[in-house]
């Protein structure tokens, strides 16, 4: 039995991506402001009609959503700031959907964006969280490579994943990214290149790592009638869950909060994993793709390596994953990395893709993962969207 109410009548529209660049002298305000301008341009909705605003960013300080509202000349009756990194796309969607359902807002703009100055990444890592600053960063200052290397090492030892399993996902995502003009990586990747690349933090190799960059992603949330009246293409929200800081007594992370909520997610949507046509998972780093495949019910715990070997993951494959190339190929524009998959899912379901189109895509699953506070990622979420 579901504890959560349904998301009936709520739709997502207007996928926008502000083309990524490796380094930018602009502030996060510019990147998020550009995304807002494109949401308005593409939807033909007037700025004054946007009455809900949901922002995710790591580099907006000293501002938050409220300072940004004045900066961009927005006045809304619903405002949220979602500092959840790789899970911000799902969480923004879910909360915006509830705001629209309850009548607190009619049209919510959800935007994640960050700038990337030359020393931003080191500074952001050194001060990412209190636990990271106290108990991780002084122990080698390897950043996310180090933390995810622990999880990758453990997963490989425990469940028998091989480097080529991670390589297969990276190679497929690169293939998916080749038509994305602003992707950080634009050349095809071969398995030989993947396996031959240097180790960064054993067992993590070069192409397991995302490229930090500047960029922004955004979409709108509204009622179906609103979208139809405005003539905007939309995808329907069938289900969405979030779960934070699950399984705290596990000595090391090998599963995430999805496992606790997935039954309710599929129950809300009235679908099963086998019905899903494509998946957008958080892919920084590829071991996390495997955790999501398992915890979202596409295979059992420890079975993801076999699942990856048995499937093809490209847009035209048996299990299309990260169909725009994901963060691994397009880049990680800070918090926008957590919204990239959501925006791509909307593109797939509204037939507005920049890269390849999954044939007959009717159902997509978007999963988020974020915030390694100490030794594990704390924030998880997932949403199921359907074509109109």
């Amino acid at each position: 039995m579901n504890r959560r109410a349904s998301y009936d009548g709520i739709v997502v529209t207007t996928p926008v991506s502000i083309p990524y660049v490796r380094f930018s002298i602009r502030a996060a305000h510019w990147w998020i402001g550009r995304a807002l301008a494109e949401l308005i341009r593409d939807s033909h909705i007037e700025k004054g009609h946007i009455d809900g605003f949901c922002v995710s960013s790591f580099t907006l300080a000293p501002d938050t959503a409220i300072g940004l509202s004045e900066h961009l000349g927005l006045s809304t009756r619903w405002l949220d700031f979602v500092p959840l990194g790789g899970n911000c796309g799902v969480v923004s969607l879910r909360r915006a959907a509830r705001a629209v359902q309850s009548g607190d807002a009619e049209i919510v703009a959800c935007i994640a964006g960050d700038t990337n100055h030359v020393d931003s990444f080191r500074q952001g890592t050194a001060n990412f969280s209190r636990f990271a600053r106290d108990a991780v960063y002084p122990m080698g200052a390897g950043g996310p490579n180090q933390s995810f290397a622990y999880l990758t090492d453990y997963y490989m030892r425990t469940f028998g994943a091989e480097p080529a399993d991670f390589g297969k996902m990276c190679v497929a995502q690169r293939q998916n990214a080749l038509k994305i003009p602003y992707a950080m990586f634009k050349k095809p990747l071969t398995m030989e290149e993947y396996l031959g690349a240097r180790l960064i933090a054993d067992p993590v190799r070069l192409f397991d790592c995302v490229m930090p960059c500047a960029g922004a992603e955004g979409f709108l949330v509204m009622r179906r009638e609103t979208a139809e009246a405005a003539g905007i293409k939309y995808a329907r929200v069938l289900g969405a869950i979030e779960r934070h800081a699950a399984f705290q007594s596990d000595p090391i992370q090998y599963r995430g909060g999805w496992a606790l909520e997935r039954d309710e997610l599929y129950g809300q949507a009235g679908v099963a994993p086998a019905d899903i046509d494509f998946i957008q998972v958080y892919d920084d780093y590829p071991v996390i793709n495997m955790l999501q495949f398992e915890d979202l019910g596409f295979c059992g715990k420890g079975e993801a390596p076999a699942f990856v070997r048995a499937n093809t993951l490209t847009v035209d494959g048996t299990f299309p994953s990260n169909t725009s190339g994901g963060q691994l190929s397009v880049g990680q524009a800070g918090a926008a990395g957590g919204m990239l998959g959501m925006v791509e899912a909307i593109r797939q379901l509204t037939r507005q893709t920049i890269g390849g189109q999954v044939p007959d895509a009717a159902l997509g699953l978007v999963s988020g993962f974020g915030m390694i506070n100490y030794d594990r990622g704390l924030s998880t979420g997932a949403a199921i969207l359907a074509a109109a």
Binding site: A126, A135, P138, M139, A141, N145, L151, P203, P251
Partner: protein, 415 residues
């Protein structure tokens, strides 16, 4: 297994000496609780007084019952390495200069997972380990996982060498060779593999007992060093400061007076001149050269040892002026530590109780033997601790002082 450290080659004088860069220093105030145990070589973690929960990283509240009554308590050191990585890239200069660097996650018996530096002799996970709290080159507490049982040459491991101040292959100055403690130190340091031991002697025209034995040790060179004479200190520093890796300042004057037992200030001045101003002169003349060499390879400048006294913490009235001079030196040593910390040179403060020498003749045992004190100092260098309270009296006074400084004030006046 770690290969034994080879004696470093002579330095190429044309190459630039690598400048010291500290590892990351920022910590929240609660996290500094780890430092207190680490300074003495103990693994202490937060433990909840109300429910017994052990937790790490440090928190403001108990993660189980939300009590704020948290104490830092010694913890069992054993655990299991559950995963690891070899960093080949780091965001910080300190580690960039030292990669590859091994780190991992260790599950302690107490039920917490810690991020630790991993000794090279630890087998791949899953592996049993011991976790130690060490001071790193920033003087901050970090955790190091070492093999379950000692291995040959384990102190020579790259990571250990960055945590400790091992005298092996290092050049040491002992500022006063005429005392029993000084001579015991020279012998202990030579035995620990010091490359050179320079030994100060303020009165070279006298032949003190034991000097012939010291002179016969191959690593030993005697120097005419008088810490009360700025010119003498400067001249000796000009000769050797650029090569000294460890300074052990054991020069002291100890008279047994309080205030009313002796008229005038001559004895007290003599104590201050050696115990306080001597340290200041040495620090001014030798400090800059040591600080510049804090990252100079496997035999970098690494430590400054001050022989203080447990009576620096609370005055011992029968030796009142001596206590006061040591309190002054203790305070100055804190200043020296603050100035040295960013360069990776550790200031080790040693607080013995009464030493078994002529100036403590009238005190009842227990007293610490010069040889035991010297061994405690060499151990501190090898273990990398920075606060040393050797012997029973020092431990007793420390416990009383921590428990209730006011009570100790009264107890000390009624011995």
């Amino acid at each position: 297994m770690t290969p034994p450290l080879q004696k470093p080659k002579r330095k190429n004088p044309i190459l630039r000496t690598r400048l010291p860069v500290p590892p990351p220093q920022a910590r929240s105030r609660y996290a500094l609780g780890l430092l207190r145990g680490a300074a003495q070589g103990r693994l202490e973690l937060q433990e909840c007084r109300d429910c017994g929960q052990v937790q790490y990283p440090p928190r403001e509240m108990c993660r189980r019952c939300l009590s704020d009554r948290l104490d830092w308590k010694p913890q069992p050191e054993d655990g299991e390495l559950i995963s690891e990585t070899l960093l080949r890239h780091s965001l910080e200069l300190f580690f960039r200069e030292r990669v590859p660097w091994r780190t991992g996650l260790v599950r302690l018996r107490g039920g917490v997972t810690v991020v630790a530096h991993i000794h090279a002799d630890v087998p791949p996970p899953p592996a049993r380990v011991r976790v130690r709290a060490h001071l790193d080159r920033a003087g901050q507490a970090v955790l190091v996982a070492i093999p379950e049982r000692d291995t040959p040459n384990m102190a020579d491991d790259k990571i250990m060498r960055e945590m400790t101040c091992d005298p092996k292959f290092r050049k040491v100055l002992v500022t006063d060779g005429k005392t029993a403690v000084g001579q015991a130190l020279v012998k202990a340091l030579a035995k620990a593999g010091a490359d050179i031991v320079w030994v100060g002697n303020a009165e070279p025209w006298k032949n003190f007992p034991g000097f012939d034995e010291i002179k016969s040790i191959p690593q030993v060179t005697l120097l005419n060093l008088d810490v009360t004479d700025q010119r003498s200190v400067r001249e000796i520093a000009g000769e050797i400061a650029g090569r000294v890796d460890i300074v052990v300042n054991n020069a002291e004057v100890h008279r047994t007076y309080g205030i009313s037992a002796r008229y005038g200030t001559d004895a007290a001045r003599a104590e201050m001149d050696v115990n306080y101003f001597g340290l200041l002169r040495l620090a001014q003349e030798f400090g800059p050269a040591l600080k510049a060499r804090g990252a100079d390879g496997v035999n970098s400048a690494v430590a400054w040892v001050n022989l203080l006294s447990i009576y620096a913490l609370a005055n011992f009235p029968p030796h009142g002026t001596f206590s006061a001079s040591k309190a002054a030196a203790h305070s100055l040593a804190q200043c020296l530590r603050a100035e040295m910390r960013p360069t990776g040179v550790r200031v080790i403060n040693v607080y013995p109780g009464p030493i078994d020498d002529e100036w403590n003749q009238l005190l009842l045992p227990p007293k610490i033997a010069p040889g035991a004190l010297a061994n405690a100092i060499v151990n501190a260098l090898r273990q990398g601790t920075e606060d040393v309270y050797p012997g029973d009296v020092a431990q007793d006074w420390l416990a009383r002082w921590r428990d209730n400084p006011k009570a100790l004030e009264v107890e000390a006046s009624n011995p």
